[in-house]
């Protein structure tokens, strides 16, 4: 045995970490305050994207994670059996559509930079974009095609990681709230105190999504990760008319924005069951999960502008979820700078489904003293932008 670890949070990040660490020989226990995959992991589209990321560390992590995803679907199946529902991995590709000359210009510049960073980003004329995606509005001015963008069903993916972890020996404790650190005689972190008793371990990983900041604080650490609310609309089932992930060009700007007011950027796609998912909004309003009709209206208005046939489709459901976001919009992966034995895998905002495999791999490398495949320094919990933002907010 190489040691024991407690992972706090049974969403996709915690489950992916549990799977990797278990399979690397660690004794893993995963705890969750509620049920598995019950929050952010079951509230989103299941995006595995490069299209929305500009050059930089997160893009590198996303590119690496996408490579891992391509082999994961069959691997997971062999680990958990064919009876388990398919994670619905599909390399469907993404199309970003610009709606005027100014957007076209900005999009082209963005795509140029992405191409230099190794992203397959193909410029499309308006006609070419509408050939690939016939329901796009005739009003679009140009587009960019990202063949690497892919999709999974996020809840099934999270549960599949968890089932694989369980098969490799991970213990899963649901309905278990972490209430404090377990401190040994030397004053060091030696596990967690929970609503179901004490759990001892050599290391503790906080993977609690939007609650990661709160859990870090409970355990004596410092992590600036909080919730960013989002809505997603689901239509009734229909014959398939959308073949890629389709975005408007506002999407890129929104992810990195610090604006706390309601923002929306359009993402439209079909799912395996025949429904269409239409996202999404971003708001910094804490953990208020109340319905926000203004947000739904704004999502709808932008979606019908991009794909006018959606005017007559029926919205049957809205998902509300909280993206876990770090102040500098970059995931936090690595050790707490001040508390030995406390680790983070958090702050993935809207990209956690895509980044889960690479996050798990990076965390395992760091915990086992290996050199990660992607440089870990930009994700370090003690990095300067996070420390600065913390200083600003406290």
């Amino acid at each position: 045995m190489k040691g024991s670890v407690i992972i706090v949070g049974a969403g996709i990040i915690g489950a992916a970490c549990a799977r990797t660490l278990s399979r690397r020989g660690l004794d893993v226990t995963i705890v969750d305050a509620g049920a598995s995959a019950g929050a952010t992991s079951s509230s989103g589209e299941g995006n595995l994207l490069v299209s929305d990321k500009g050059p930089g560390a997160e893009l590198e992590l996303a590119q690496h994670s996408l490579r891992l995803w391509r082999t994961l679907a069959p691997t997971l199946e062999s680990e958990i059996g064919r009876d388990f529902p398919s994670v619905e991995f599909e390399r469907k590709g993404g199309i970003v559509a610009a709606l005027d000359a100014q957007q076209s210009q900005a999009l082209d510049l963005f795509a140029d930079a992405q191409r230099r960073a190794g992203v397959d980003a193909q410029r499309l004329s308006a006609d070419e974009a509408r050939y690939l995606e016939p329901e796009l509005s005739p009003a679009i001015s140009s587009g960019v095609y990202y063949p690497e963008d892919a999709q999974v069903q996020p809840t099934i993916a999270a549960e599949a990681f968890l089932a694989s972890a369980r098969a490799a020996g991970t213990r899963v404790l649901v309905n278990t709230v972490v209430t404090g650190p377990l401190i040994d005689a030397d004053g060091k972190l030696a596990g967690v105190v929970t609503s179901s008793g004490n759990l001892a371990a050599d290391d503790v990983v906080v993977a609690a999504g939007p609650w990661a900041g709160e859990v870090a604080q409970v355990l004596g650490g410092t992590l600036s990760v909080g919730p960013r609310k989002g809505f997603l609309l689901v239509t009734s089932r229909m014959p398939r008319r959308i073949f890629h992930k389709v975005y408007d060009a506002d999407y890129v700007g929104a992810v990195g924005s610090d604006n706390h007011d309601l923002q929306t950027s359009t993402v439209i796609e079909s799912t395996a069951s025949g429904t269409v998912l239409i996202g999404s909004s971003r708001q910094n309003v804490g953990f208020d999960s109340g319905l926000d009709v203004a947000a739904l209206r704004k999502i709808a208005a932008k979606a019908v502008r991009l794909m006018p046939f959606l005017l007559e489709t029926s919205v049957i459901r809205a998902y509300c979820g909280f993206r876990p976001f770090a102040r500098d919009h970059v995931p936090v992966i690595g050790p707490d700078p001040a508390v030995p034995g406390l680790w983070y895998a958090a702050g993935h905002e809207g990209a956690g489904i895509g980044l889960a495999p690479a996050t798990a791999e990076m965390l395992a490398s760091l915990m086992l003293g290996e050199s990660p495949a992607v440089a870990a320094a930009p994700f370090a919990p003690g990095r300067a932008p996070l420390a600065d933002s913390l200083a600003r907010t406290t």
Binding site: S36, G38, P85, I156, L291
Partner: protein
């Protein structure tokens, strides 16, 4: 002048509207149907008058007088075809226009007091073959008979539990169908025990007992064979119903081996109880009690200030209880109190009929082993065609313990009905896989923030025309 907004124009909503007007408030009464009356007083459209329509109804004169009084009152605005699709704090978002239309009139109401009177619908347990054309909910068959003069079949079996099965059978016979049998799951001894141990309570609810035991008029009573301790446990047919299997069941509703009997029919009507329509009160923030009804106090107040609830959403009790609760809710919403003198008779009736409701639940409540009649192939979620075997294998393979995750793993309850039909059955069947017997995440299939489908264009249009948006009625 205070405005009382009432959602639902069945017995509870109509009574609330009348009492609120009596109390001096202005009333806005919303209903998604084309006319008032609710499911209980579902009737023929104005284009199809019939001299003896009252033959199809109980309490028809009560309905007629409530409707006439409200329709003739200019301070009572009745808005039919009003589809409440979302409630956001105190804003009630409504689309007014034909059902499932594409360009309905968007309104937002924000009233000082709101009475929720959204009613209930049949709870139908999954049965092998229940997805075949020719299988109807008991309430659906009755709605067709009362609102359309459509008979669901020539040879019909009615199965399930509760006194409501009898008026359904009666409406079928009056429409000319042969009712081959009414199969009540409860056992005769349990029924007799419950209905007659306290005869003095029954005496006070005489009208109800008449409805339950003597409901069926003499001339058709002999044409309705009523059998207890039996259930429809399978339905057969190629592309429509051809026969049913009826089995004797034990007190837990588990079928007893060797008792199956096959009966040729062309229609089956099923009703195993009722599910309250809770999505709007839940969206308004109203607390749900352990029995999964809206919690109300003596004044019919919910846990949310200014929001009242009446009728089946506070407990399944029938029309008399709904009328009494509605009257009290409307009166208090208008500014009165349940203890006021003029509410006395309603308080008395409410107390009596709540006892009656408790008797129905204890006599006809769903047995814990009903799932024994399911097979691996039985469809549980009709929208997404999720089978019992699939639910079980996914629950076992994932060991997931939360409804949210299990719904997304199995797709059960994710279809366009949003779990209205299968939700509670799915919760129960999946809960059986979890230690403790219930799912742990506290997620309820009764919660539907989008309460009825809205076209994306209708949602988008509201933003384009903000002037259209705030047709607000405030205090």
């Amino acid at each position: 002048m205070k405005t009382v907004l009432i959602i639902g124009a069945g017995p509870a909503g109509l009574a609330a509207a009348a009492a609120a007007r009596e109390g001096g408030a202005r009333v806005v009464l919303l209903d998604s149907a084309e006319d008032v009356g609710g499911q209980y007083w579902r009737h023929l459209p104005a284009t199809r008058p019939a001299r003896n329509e009252s033959l199809l109804h109980h309490g028809w004169s009560t309905f007629r007088s409530l409707r006439e009084r409200l329709e003739g009152d200019e301070l009572c605005e009745i808005v039919t075809w009003a589809h409440v699709w979302a409630i956001e704090d105190r804003n009630i978002h409504v689309l007014v226009g034909e059902p499932d239309g594409t360009n309905r009139d968007a309104r937002v109401y924000n009233a000082a007091a709101v009475v929720m009177a959204t009613g209930a619908y049949d709870r139908t347990l999954p049965i092998p073959g229940w997805e075949l054309p020719g299988v109807f909910t008991a309430g659906g068959a009755q709605a067709l008979a009362k609102g359309e003069r459509i008979a669901v079949g020539h040879r019909v079996v009615v199965g399930g539990a509760g006194p409501f099965l009898l008026p359904v059978a009666e409406s079928l016979v009056v429409a000319g169908s042969t009712v081959v049998g009414v199969y009540e799951a409860s056992h005769a001894r349990r029924l007799l025990g419950t209905w007659t141990t306290r005869p003095w309570e029954l005496a006070r609810t005489a009208s109800k007992v008449t409805e339950m035991l003597g409901y069926v008029s003499n001339h058709v009573r002999h044409r309705i064979p009523y059998v207890t301790g039996r259930a429809v446990t399978a339905i057969q047919g190629a592309d429509r119903v051809e026969s049913v299997t009826v089995s004797a069941i034990d007190r837990s509703w588990a079928p007893i081996a060797g008792t199956q009997k096959t009966i040729d029919v062309d229609a089956v009507c099923l009703g195993h109880g009722f599910t309250p329509r809770l999505e709007l009160p839940i969206a308004a923030g109203c607390r749900v009690n352990a029995r999964r009804f809206i919690e109300v106090d003596e004044d019919q107040r919910t846990s949310v200030a200014g929001v009242f609830a009446a009728g089946e959403i506070t407990g399944i009790g029938g029309v008399d209880l709904a009328l009494a609760e509605g009257a009290i809710a409307g009166h208090v919403a208008a500014g009165g109190a349940a203890s006021d003198m003029q509410m006395r008779q309603h308080r008395v009736r409410r107390r009596r009929f709540r006892q009656f409701a408790a008797r129905i639940e204890s006599a006809h409540g769903i047995g814990e082993n009903w799932s024994k009649w399911l097979t691996d192939e039985t469809i549980i979620c009709r929208c997404e065609e999720v089978s019992f075997g699939r639910l079980n294998s996914v629950a076992e393979a994932s060991q997931a313990t939360g409804l949210r995750s299990l719904k997304l793993l199995t797709r059960a309850g994710l279809g366009i009905c949003q779990g209205r039909v299968c939700g509670r059955s799915v919760e129960e069947l999946l809960g059986a896989h979890v230690p403790g017997g219930r799912l742990i995440d506290g997620v309820s299939s009764d919660r539907r923030p989008i309460a009825t489908p809205i076209r994306l264009g209708e949602l988008a249009q509201e933003l384009d025309n903000p002037a259209h948006l705030e047709r607000t009625n405030t205090k």
